[in-house]
């Protein structure tokens, strides 16, 4: 497990249901996965109880390579939690995940200077261990990626 820490313990913790628990269990093992419909093969994120395309309930989980491109982002300057006062400005990004058939992930770009993030930037997903059973995916800029 990594020792990387960027955000404070007082960040909101994920609330899980039987539908979303497998995704968070995988994250705790530092695996980024996407839910795949057993009936039609469509992916979906965040996890949901039925396939929005074919309405089938059955699903499986597929490992993703953990790379992607920034679809949109913001640099947050106001600390909406007292615990974030020392952490602003921070970057929230929505990442188009490679090989996911259209899944996007809300995450944080945690390396570099916030003001330099751009739409289209290539990123790699890393995991921040927040507690014994909780790891949260963050993104680091991946300047070596071929399709930048």
């Amino acid at each position: 497990m990594s020792e990387l820490r960027w955000f404070p313990d007082a960040m909101p913790v994920p609330a899980v249901s039987p539908v979303t628990l497998p995704w968070w269990r995988a994250a705790a093992e530092h695996r980024l996965v996407v839910q795949v419909c057993d009936a039609c093969g469509a992916t979906r994120h965040p996890p949901s109880p039925r396939c929005p395309r074919c309405h089938a309930p059955g699903s499986s989980w597929r490992d993703l390579p953990g790379t992607g491109s920034v679809f949109t982002f913001t640099v947050v300057h106001q600390a909406f939690l007292p615990a974030l006062a020392e952490h602003v400005p921070y970057v929230i990004a929505v990442v188009d995940l490679d090989d996911s058939d259209g899944a996007r992930l809300v995450t944080n770009v945690v390396d570099g200077v916030p003001s330099t993030v751009c739409i289209g930037d290539r990123v790699s997903i890393v995991f921040e261990d927040m507690g014994p059973d909780l790891a949260v995916p963050r993104a680091v800029t991946d300047v070596g990626a071929p399709d930048r």
């Binding site: 899980v16 628990l21 679809f71 913001t74 909406f80 400005p89 929230i92």
Partner: protein, 399 residues
Amino acid sequence: VKPRTATVVGVGETAYARWGGLADVTEYELALQAIEAAVADAGLQLHDVDGLASFADDRNDAVFVAADLGLPELRHATMSWLPGGGGACAAVANAAIAVEAGQAEVIVVYRSLCQGQFHRFGQGPGARRDDGRPPGLRRARSPLDEHAAFTMPFGMLSPPITYAMVMQRHMYRYGTTSEQMGNVAVRFRDHATRNPRAVMGDQPMTLDDHRSSRLVAEPFHLFDCCMENDGACAVVVTTAERAADCAKQGAEIVASAQGNPGAFGHGQYVNVYLDDDLYTSGGGQVVARDLFARAGIGPDDIDVAMIYDHFTGLVLLQLEDYGFCRRGEGGPFFSETSLPMNTHGGSLSEAYIHGLNHVVEGVRQLRGESTTPVPGAETCLVTSAAGVPSSGLVLVKVP
């Protein structure tokens, strides 16, 4: 006009104040006062009221309101599921539907907000963590809670962050600028300076003021974001037949619509999982289509518009959704158009009462009571919040 056609006959409000400015009175008491003011404006009595409507988790339960105002009978009580400010026009629509169906005769739609006494509206579940426990998973209490797990742990904690990201993408795709958003803030503030009810009425704003206001979440500066206020307002809906005997001129509800493109609002209303065209819209396409079809008119027939303005940029997206301009052209359109909008100052500068005050201003505009009057205005569009499942109204002056 048919005898039962739904008509707004009264509008009213309490004083509007900054966050915490009305600390000596409860939010519920303000709701009662706004209802009393609107009923009085209509020239009706409380014993005429037989229905109540509100929206989005209103804390001020209609059953208590009916009892405390001494209504002889409560025959219709609805609350729209549409979240946040998306439901203001829907609450009026639900009142209109009920009145036209003969379920009730006089329905008051109300909204009261004491932001100083409650947590910030739109702050997601789990946003405050002060229990001292180590971080870990917890059991979801609702679908919203479950979806918020994919945004809150990343610091996506409040609506300005959510919609900043939408505008960032809109700027990337269409070249929309911060200055174009600033134009919205400046124009609505100018309207507010003539409105004695407006919380920001004594503070004129320039584009420089907008540009130099602090950043909240890029590209949004403070003055791109609506205020957070204490106050309440209400509107009275009845039949055209009853309206003829009311104290003032009415505003006919010629069309109402509510809803959203299927998955809009998905993921704790953040929409980041949707198709790019839908993500960079306000999500008003379904409401706009139904509203104009039902009214039998188009955007060109609108004399004045009250556009929900939680954030400057989302005003531009709604102008696109409602067909006033093409997709991506909201920024330039706003700067060039002569369409009067938010003549009260909107949520940016009059008050943030979840857009029910936009319905109030629409009625005043058609009556000739606005502090920024639009001469000859006969047709008014009112929209509720963009970026969430929403609703809209077309109001027409009753001759």
